[in-house]
Amino acid sequence: MAERYSRQERFAPIGKEGQALLAEKHVLIVGAGALGSANAEMLARAGIGRITIIDRDYIEWSNLARQQLYTEEDAASSRAKAKAAEARLKAINSTINVEGIAEEFDPENAELLLKDVDILIDGTDNFNTRFIINDAACKYKIPWIYGGCVKSDGISLSILPGQTPCLQCLIDQLPQDIETCETAGIIGPAVQVTAAYQTAECLKFLTGHSMSTHLVSFDVWGRQYSSIDVVKLKDPHCASCSDDAQFPYLKKEKGIRTAVLCGRNTVQVRPGRKENVNLERLAQRIEPFAGEARVNEVLLRFHMEEKRFVVFKDGRTLIHGVEDVQEAKKLYHRYVEA
């Protein structure tokens, strides 16, 4: 077992001391899609003492081309990404602590999730969640590493709250009409390079080195690379990271909330407060009307009115085949909440 990290210890900037530090650290990975999977696997192999990975989604066939932790069996059974990731990471490294949480990262659970965390890795696929991460990280002074990729392009930035510019300093509004992996496509190499930058920065931070203040981007297909030092862009009046920060994305909404998952023809509906839904009972109730009602460890899926429903234990529901929020709410009331 002492052999396990010998090559990484041989790498001078880490050494035996750095390796011992890694074993004491806790990394939170938000999102277990392509970037989350790639980061998680590298960090688990590198011997990070504790990894928590949270994800709101389940595995589909279209994920397998690039989301490296998952198998055909996972897609066939619509397994929750967080649970499948946890199992795979434990199989990769049984000497570390791994916990997968099948929930959404949101203003309600952010504080609890960031407790005792040394650094957060962005494995999300949308800016809504990234701005929640950014506010939470700024509020609780947890460093985080932004990563994004689409097509053959990728980008990354390390953010040290209070010291380097945060996402809000660089982007003062939520980007609209942005290309997603669903609409513009994505190739595995773009994921791997982005995750490589993120994990490298993470290892640097955890072993006591300073992270880069450069925003790095590349096109792995067109062989373009660019790097800009953005340290001067720190905004002294930033709504998220300045002394008088308001943390606009941490404001808790009341009542039923919806989110359109862009490019996926899917709406997510969430109850006003989390409640434990008895999935077996719900399955029995809708079974007579619904096609293929199936329950696994964390979710229930069924077909109804030519829509595909996926209901998680906490009541959060994904409705595929609908883009209109009002229609999604109606369907939710009719079949899930009733």
Binding site: D122, T124, I155, V191, Q224, S226
Partner: protein, 67 residues
Amino acid sequence: MNIQLNGRSIDLPDNVTTVLELLDSYDIKKKISVVEHNKEIIRRFDYEKAKLADGDKIEIVHFVGGG
């Protein structure tokens, strides 16, 4: 005129004379970007004023959201 764009030598058409026109010519005017012009970061509202000259070094990074 010839500039260095993200480390590559590029010949610009005559109608591209500012950073804004440069972004437009690559169809990324609407995307949120960080632009560095001869090692100085240019603010978004200054893109139109930033005149390009032969031999300028430009770095453009635009944000992407997938993952």
